[in-house]
Symmetry: C2
Amino acid sequence: MKILSLGMPSKVRLPLKSHTNTLWIPQLTLDCIILGFHQGQLRVLLLRWKGTQEWSLPGGPIRKDESIDAAAARVLKERTCLEQIYLKQYHVFGDLHRYDKSEIQEKLSHIIPREVWYDRAISIGYYALVDYSRVSPTPDVYTDECQWWDIHEVPPLLFDHNEMIAMALKALRMELHWQPVGYNLLPDQFTMPELQRLYETILGRTLDARNFYKKMLGLEILERLKERRRGGAYKAPYLYRFKKEAYEAKLKEGQLSFL
Amino acid sequence: MKILSLGMPSKVRLPLKSHTNTLWIPQLTLDCIILGFHQGQLRVLLLRWKGTQEWSLPGGPIRKDESIDAAAARVLKERTCLEQIYLKQYHVFGDLHRYDKSEIQEKLSHIIPREVWYDRAISIGYYALVDYSRVSPTPDVYTDECQWWDIHEVPPLLFDHNEMIAMALKALRMELHWQPVGYNLLPDQFTMPELQRLYETILGRTLDARNFYKKMLGLEILERLKERRRGGAYKAPYLYRFKKEAYEAKLKEGQLSFL
DNA sequence: ATATAATATGTAATTTTTACATAATGATAA
DNA sequence: TTATCATTATGTAAAAATTACATATTATAT
C-alpha cells in the first residue's frame, strides 16, 4: 500500500485523456506550492517547460492506488528529493473554466499533443513548507528547469497557477497564527531575527523585535542554544531550536497563538 | 453554463462505475454537511436509505459540465429546496480506504448492485450553513427519509461520514472566530440570547452574557430593532439584524474578530 | 584600537479580555 | 389586579495581552 516511496514514471503528470482506464484517476490532479525561505524571501518552486519560457507549478494526477496525501508527497519528493515534509491541503480548484485550455494546448503543443488534454480537470491544491537548504530542485521529463522564485516576483504562469499561489499564501497567513510555521520553513537551528524576518515576509508587514522576542519566548516552545551563529557581520545572534514535544503538546490543546 | 438551477436526475448520486464515460466525473464525489440551528442544537441533515436504518450524508458525483461549487449547491438545493446558501469547501477525503467498501456493498445491495461501486472514490467535503426554518428536507430516490439530527447525537453512519461531520464541526469552530456564522445560521431577525446560544453550542462551552453583548455590539455589524420577540415566556428580548454592508466591508479588511 | 551595524533586552501605556451581580421586564399564576 | 417567575439587559473593576518605544551589547571590519 506504500506507493509513496516507490516513485513513479514521472512522465505522467498532466491531466491527459490517456489516463482513462489506466493507473490514474481521470480528470483529477493536484498541484503543489512548495515553499521555502531564503535570504529574507518566501520562495516557491517552479518548473520551466521544455523549449519554452513558460513556468508552472509541480503537480499531476493521482494514482488509483495511492491516497491523495501520498500523491502530494510523491510529487514533492520527485521535485525536491525530500520526504516526511509538512504538506497541507488548502483548496480545491474546480471551476469549469479554471484556465484557458486552448492557450495551454497551443503553448505546449510541441510537448503534449493537443488532443490528449481533458476537457476539464479539477485540481487539489497543497502547499508544502520545506527547509530551503535541503531541497535539490529537480525538473521532470516535461521541463528543462526547476527553480526557486521569490513568491512576490513570480511571472505569469500556465493554468490558474498564479491564483493557486495567491490562495496558498493567504491560507499560510492564516496558519501562521496557530501553527509553528517556522519549524517547517527554517533549518533545525535558526536565529530569532531569522524567525522574525520569516514572519514579516509572510505577513507583509514589519514587527517590533522586542515584542517578537517576548511573544516567541513566552510560548515556551523555543530553546536557546549556547552557541551563536558565527560568520555573519557584526554581533553574532544566538541560535534557537524548536522543542518538538512542547509545541506538539500545546498544539493538541489548541493553546498556541503566535500573533 | 448555469447548470446549478436546472436540477438533475437525482437518481445518480453515488460513486458508481456507470458514471464512466457519461455525464459524470468518475471516482470523485462531494458530500455536504448541511447545518442548521434549532432549539439550542446544531443539527445536521441526514438521509435514511430505503428499507434500512442506515443513515448517511447528502452528496454525490460532479457533472462534467458544472463547477464543484455548483455541484455542491445543486446537492444542497435538492435536499433543502434552498438556493444562494453559504457553502464552504473544508476538506478532501482521499484516503485509499476511507471506508469499508464491502460493508457498504452488503448493506445497500438491495438498492445498488454490488458490482457498480468504484473500487475507490475521493470526496470533497462541503458544509452549508442554512436557516433551519426555511429548509424543506427532501429525500432522494435512494432514501426514505431526510431528517435533522442533533450533531452530537448522530448515529453511526455509512461511509466515513461520521468523520466528515467531526471535521466539519472543527472547521466551523475555526470559522466562528472571523466569520459572521450567525448571519447564515439564524433567521434574518434574531435575539441576542439566540446568537449567544449558537456560539455556545458550536464552541461547546458557555459564554458570559455581558461580555458577549459587549463583544457583538462592539463589532458594529448588528442593528437593534424597535420590536421585541413576543410570545416567549418572561421578558421579551430585543430583535437584532445583521448589517450586511457593514460586516462585508469589515470582512474584506480582515477586521472582524468574534471571539 | 575604533567604528560599525545588527543583536538583545525592559518598562510604561493602551487595549482587550475576563470576572462578576443586579435591576428591569413581560408572561404566568394566584 | 397583583405577585411571582425566569429571562433579559446592562456596568465596572481586575487581569491579561498587546503595543509603543530607546539603549547597551557585541562580533566583525577597518
